[in-house]
Symmetry: C2
Subunit: 86 residues, 2 copies
């Protein structure tokens, strides 16, 4: 078994209202950042897991997302990276 | 001016207690995912901004992080990617 650091992005599904992103975009406009057209806020989850291979680590994290980390109704997730730990 | 999609990771600074990550790690253990040694939860922010170049877009987003998005006492941020929008 090796140790891997797996990063996951969990983001509001396209078309779903993102009130936190809307609030951030409005606050940025108020601060003078006029060039911001849209902001979306998701979660960046970093998990240190033991697994036999990077593929197994990724598969385990996908199962964690399905069972706990992501809300399947409102959120999408993607594995952003799998890094081998020393 | 072109449009760019800039992704930022905002994560709890190393050494700072991350209660949300601790709760997620404990919940994953309860669900039977024994291989999880550590979980850290940050934010994944995606901003659509207008700028003259990708570098200018990244610089603008760094300023937004300094002024609004990240808490400089407890959080670190990094620009994860800058993508040109059509």
């Amino acid at each position: 078994m090796s140790r891997f650091r797996v990063s996951v992005h969990i983001v509001p599904r396209q078309g779903i209202l993102d009130p936190q992103g809307k609030a951030v975009a409005d606050a940025l406009h108020t601060l003078g950042f006029r060039g911001v057209a849209d902001a979306r806020i998701g979660r960046h989850v970093v998990l240190d897991v033991s697994a036999v291979s990077p593929e197994a680590a990724g598969a385990a994290v996908r199962e964690m997302c399905d069972r706990l980390l992501a809300n399947p109704v409102t959120e999408d997730y993607e594995i952003a990276g799998v890094e081998t730990l020393p």
